[in-house]
């Protein structure tokens, strides 16, 4: 014969177990419904692609040191910094191709960011909307580490980046380079990366008899 107080305790514990079981079941269902709802809110339509625009790329050639302009149709963002990054990414994609005239491994991902700032000593602080700009190009460390070493090849890379920026963003008159966000002395042992480059600097020419 079970004592009365033990029967009461047993009944209470049984009731509590049932309540806890039901609560756990409800919580599980609630979590499941929330998960399903989250999946439903994910975008199912493709993102809109920016309109293709003409970009001018100054594509370097190692054989004669030339840097002719090439026109390419690219989907370009409206933000100037993002646009500059996309254009330089295309330029470095060309250099990373197997048959490139100026072979440099790396490609699109080698330009981490491009920042556009008012130009140094431009005296146009009041005209920040229309004055000359300084482009700060942040390159990936892997790009600099794998860049072929040599004065000509490094100079061509630097000048083609400067020329391409100026051709597409005419307000860019000065360019500085960072590598992984840090100042680096040279690109691959030769071209000075500590200075500010002017976009109008002369390109290389073939030697000819005077």
């Amino acid at each position: 014969m079970i004592p009365r107080h033990q029967a009461v305790i047993f009944s209470i514990l049984l009731l509590a177990s049932l309540v806890m079981g039901v609560t756990l079941w409800e919580l599980r269902e609630h979590a499941h419904r929330r998960l399903i709802a989250g999946q439903d809110s994910a975008p199912t339509s493709a993102p809109q692609v920016a309109a293709e625009l003409q970009a001018t790329l100054m594509v370097a050639s190692d054989s004669d040191g030339s840097m002719p302009a090439q026109l390419h149709a690219l989907p370009l963002p409206t933000d100037p910094g993002a646009r500059a990054r996309a254009i330089l990414g295309k330029l470095l994609d060309i250099y990373a191709a197997a048959d490139a005239a100026h072979p440099v491994p790396g490609g699109d991902g080698s330009v981490l960011e491009v920042f556009l700032l008012p130009a140094i000593n431009s005296g146009a602080a009041a005209d920040a909307a229309n004055g000359p700009q300084l482009a700060v190009v942040n390159l990936a460390g892997s790009f600099a580490a794998n860049h072929p070493s040599g004065i000509e090849t490094e100079t061509l890379t630097v000048l083609s980046i400067c020329g391409t920026l100026h051709a597409n963003l005419p307000r860019v008159s000065q360019v500085r380079f960072l590598v992984d966000g840090q100042v680096r002395s040279t690109l691959a042992g030769h071209a000075d990366l500590t200075r500010t480059y002017l976009t109008g600097e002369p390109v290389l020419t073939e030697g000819r008899q005077p």
Partner: protein
């Protein structure tokens, strides 16, 4: 009494110092010395680029510096080199050696597997208003700006001599840490594989014949540069 002696001594020393200063400022006799600095790029920890046969750029530039030094010495030209062995020489030290030599020309020797022919580079600094060296103090990183015009002229002489020797030449301006700090006419000479008439490789960098022809052409250009300097000195 003691103070007056000290004062007299100080006066005497300052007078002697002044005389010494006057002697330094007196017009010097025409200098016949013609010094060329050869800067074999890289060295020691800095191997430079890797050439096709696995040779580091630092070894090639040192070998070329030794070869060119011999050719210039035979022609009676005093040569100062920035390094004579596989040692690390910082860019600042190279510029110090060159600037202390008060040279009439400096060639910074480089090598690469990129491109073809000989690449000549003068500093991309804009010529300064103080061209000709009439200034006492120059910013270290832009000291070459006072000599850029002369450097471009030296580049022209090198171009002529190399073309005369049948080589292809690319002329350019570049910003190189050593070059921009030099206070003399200075050109960076980057030697790439020789280009044939159909724009293919005619001779690799390790071809002794090609190295000899490049060195001979550079030596001929320096001799021409010395002749022009002597002519300018005789008919200022």
């Amino acid at each position: 009494m003691r103070w007056s002696k000290l004062g007299f001594a100080a006066f005497t020393m300052s007078w002697l110092g002044g005389a010494s200063l006057l002697a330094q400022q007196a017009p010097a006799a025409p200098q016949a010395r013609f010094v060329v600095v050869l800067d074999a790029a890289h060295g020691g920890d800095d191997s430079g680029g890797r050439l096709l046969n696995g040779q580091p750029e630092k070894a090639f530039t040192l070998a070329m510096s030794v070869r060119l030094r011999s050719l210039l010495a035979v022609r009676g030209i005093q040569v100062v080199t920035t390094r004579e062995s596989d040692q690390t020489v910082e860019a600042e030290r190279r510029a110090e050696i060159t600037n202390h030599a008060a040279a009439q020309a400096c060639l910074s020797l480089h090598a690469t597997e990129s491109g073809l022919g000989i690449h000549l580079f003068a500093s991309s600094l804009a010529p300064s208003a103080n061209a000709g060296g009439g200034v006492r103090f120059l910013a270290w990183k832009t000291a070459q700006s006072a000599w850029v015009t002369r450097s471009v002229a030296l580049e022209g002489d090198l171009n002529s001599a190399l073309l005369h020797a049948g080589m292809s030449v690319t002329l350019g301006r570049s910003s190189l840490p050593v070059l921009d700090s030099l206070t003399c006419p200075a050109v960076a000479v980057e030697i790439a594989p020789e280009m044939s008439s159909d724009k293919t490789v005619a001779a690799e960098l390790d071809d002794p014949g090609y190295q000899a022809r490049v060195a001979e052409a550079l030596a001929a250009a320096i001799v021409e540069w010395r002749t022009e300097a002597a002519r300018a000195e005789a008919h200022p």
